[in-house]
């Protein structure tokens, strides 16, 4: 039983990492109607920035903050420079641009930092904490705590501040928002910056659990997609809960199903995406406006 609880908590921690990236995907999908395939790679690049800062002697906390700030600025820049000119046109163009960005960012990180595995410094203290008689990894609890804090901040931002209201307006109805004086373009930029920041958070949270290299986020991206699809692509709450379900399922399947083990865990998101599409295309919490083709 203790083992089971440990697997579940570690699964929720993994799921929280996926959730941070899934929230980024959902944020952009809601405002731009596009899935940013480069989200994971942008996060990977920001994680490298954090690593490089820490490696050059900057205290870890400052390095992490620096990487998040970098991601925020880079996300806004990407929206303004690359996405804005093709926004509202053929959606295929947007998909191709984000894929191009995926490949470029991945290669650029390899160019700058090489293709060898890097050791990312631990953010949380190692070891275990006793919770109700069960020893749970401090790192897992820390990651879950960070994600819950992020969800709280996002909720407060979008429901209790003027700028959050303006961002929601710009996402929901750009034309009307513009008429009442909301600077829609600036709000979209802000949304992309915020999404990139969330992605970077996922990157620095997952990097200490794995080794840092240019392939850090490709796998995570697939899990986050599965989480977002399961939760419903336009629901932030759904993205979090869906990602948690993915993380728990992945952990349990990898631990208790011998045929899956650690290498075939990647079949879990594939199966869940296909299952969701077959059974409930709008996801658990999404609005069912997804229509049949």
């Amino acid at each position: 039983m203790e083992r089971f609880l440990q697997v579940v908590v570690d699964g929720i921690a993994d799921g929280s990492v996926y959730a941070a990236l899934a929230l980024a995907l959902v944020l952009i999908f809601r405002s731009t109607g596009v899935v940013n395939f480069a989200q994971g790679e942008m996060a990977m690049f920001a994680t490298f920035v954090a690593w490089a800062l820490a490696d050059s002697g900057v205290p870890l906390v400052l390095a992490l903050l620096g990487a998040l700030a970098f991601a925020f600025a880079a996300g806004m820049l990407v929206e303004r420079v690359l996405i804005r000119p093709v926004e509202g046109g053929n959606p295929l163009n947007l998909v191709i641009v984000t894929l191009g960005l995926f490949i470029v960012v991945n290669a650029a990180a390899g160019w700058i930092w090489g293709f060898t595995l890097k050791d990312f410094p631990q953010i949380f203290p190692g070891g275990v904490a006793e919770v109700g008689g069960v020893s749970l990894s401090v790192e897992s609890l820390g990651i879950i705590g960070v994600l819950l804090a992020v969800v709280l901040v996002l909720w407060a931002l979008f429901t209790h501040t003027g700028i959050g209201l303006a961002m929601r307006a710009a996402a929901q109805s750009p034309a009307s928002a513009r008429l009442v004086g909301v600077p829609v373009g600036r709000m979209l930029m802000l949304g992309w910056g915020l999404a990139a920041l969330l992605g970077a958070l996922a990157g620095v949270l997952v990097a200490p659990r794995l080794f840092l290299d240019t392939n850090l986020m490709a796998g995570v991206l697939v899990y986050s997609f599965a989480g977002a699809a399961l939760g419903g692509f336009d629901s932030p709450l759904g993205a979090v809960i869906g990602s948690w379900i993915i993380g728990i399922t992945e952990g349990l399947a990898g631990t208790y199903v011998d045929a899956i083990g650690s290498d075939l865990k990647v079949l879990v998101p594939l199966t869940i995406i296909v299952g969701v599409l077959l059974l409930r295309p709008s996801g658990l919490f999404g609005s069912p406006e997804v229509t049949r083709a």
Partner: protein, 357 residues
């Protein structure tokens, strides 16, 4: 202003078209006898990728759907052919339809759930498929040889043909590629192609006209999968060896780059794109391992902004500078269906509802 103007369907136009095709075929046939074995090997790879890109190009160009997992189909085709040749006595020629059939079925299996819905779901499913392909190939060791891969007995040079092995593999791939490209052209001109064009121009209108949009898209996706499968089988023939590290996510992106850079949904685009993805890494790799990715990705973005239609579109525009093809102007007595009475307006324009020849 163009140098020459020809009328579509006229004798000159047909002569130009067939002349171009004949010249292209002649060059393609002559190349292996005037180059090095290693260049022949590269050109054989170009043909493998061109087949896969032709299928993917139809999917992206006509259905507007992106497959990020075409590398997985390429891998399944390669492994189907490799396993059949390595473990059975099947003739190599039969490995090609086998690879096509397996990948077609795989395309149906994933296309049916993903293409019922509009939007980016196919991209999601295929991305997951591309990521899952490597681990699955490594695990399925009894069939795939696991991490160490499979050696493939390459198609032997037939006794009646006095060519070297590299030339034979090239010519064999050229023949298969030619057939596959011909099928692609016919598919896009046939009833499937007309349905696809109708869907591309207006999905709702197409549905009103009785076209089952989801079914057509799924069939197209499965066909694109089969093209990747045949390309993969040729790839297995060409290399004589398959291993999981040949079929990473990068391969899927490579195929997509080929399609977009070459030009969506055209035969010339598939070949040009395949040339691009085979030869760019060779030169870029000498500078830096990462340069290839920067060029692929940069080219994808640049094509969207600067070169809609890709390289094939650019060629078409250049050709138009030289040779302009105009629609024929119908003339009096040209067509028996149009009464050549005084009702035909002056100037040779057909009367309202008149049949254009």
């Amino acid at each position: 202003m163009s140098l020459v103007t020809v009328v579509a369907g006229s004798r000159a136009h047909r002569a130009l078209r067939w002349g171009t095709i004949a010249a292209g075929t002649a060059v393609a046939l002559a190349v292996p006898f005037n180059s090095s074995p290693s260049l022949n090997g590269d050109l054989t790879l170009v043909l493998c990728y061109a087949v896969a890109a032709a299928g993917l190009g139809m999917l992206v160009g006509y259905a507007g759907q992106v497959s990020l997992g075409h590398g997985a189909f390429f891998a399944v085709g390669a492994y189907t052919a490799a396993a059949l040749l390595a473990k059975t006595d099947l003739h190599w020629l039969l490995a090609l339809p086998a690879a096509a059939a397996v990948t077609f079925a795989l395309g149906l299996a994933f296309g049916i759930p993903a293409l019922r819905l509009r939007g980016i779901y196919l991209a999601l499913v295929t991305l997951a498929l591309a990521v899952a392909a490597g681990p699955v190939l490594k695990r399925a060791e009894p069939v795939t040889g696991g991490v160490s891969g499979l050696s493939v007995p390459q198609p032997p040079v037939p006794g009646w043909l006095a060519v070297d092995a590299d030339q034979w593999l090239y010519l064999l791939s050229l023949a298969v590629t030619g057939v596959m490209l011909l099928i692609a052209v016919n598919l896009t001109r046939g009833s499937l192609g007309r349905s696809l064009l109708a869907i591309r121009d207006g999905e709702r209108a197409a549905r009103t006209a009785g076209i089952d949009v989801a079914r057509v898209k799924t069939l197209l996706f499965a066909t694109a999968g089969a093209y990747a499968g045949v390309g993969g089988a040729l790839f297995a023939f060409a290399l004589g060896f398959v291993a999981p590290e040949s079929f990473t996510l990068l391969l899927s992106f490579t195929l997509l780059s080929a399609v977009v850079v070459g030009g969506l949904g055209t035969v010339a685009g598939a070949v040009l794109g395949a040339l691009f993805v085979v030869f760019v890494p060779q030169y870029a790799g000498e500078v830096d391992q990462a340069l290839t990715g920067i060029i692929y990705g940069g080219a994808l973005i640049a094509v969207v902004y600067l070169l809609p239609g890709g390289a094939a579109g650019l060629l078409r525009r250049l050709r138009r500078r030289l040779i302009d093809v105009v629609e024929p102007t119908p003339q009096r007595g040209d067509n028996d269906a149009v009464p050549t009475s005084d009702t035909a307006p002056v100037g040779g324009q057909p009367a309202a509802g008149g049949v254009r020849p």
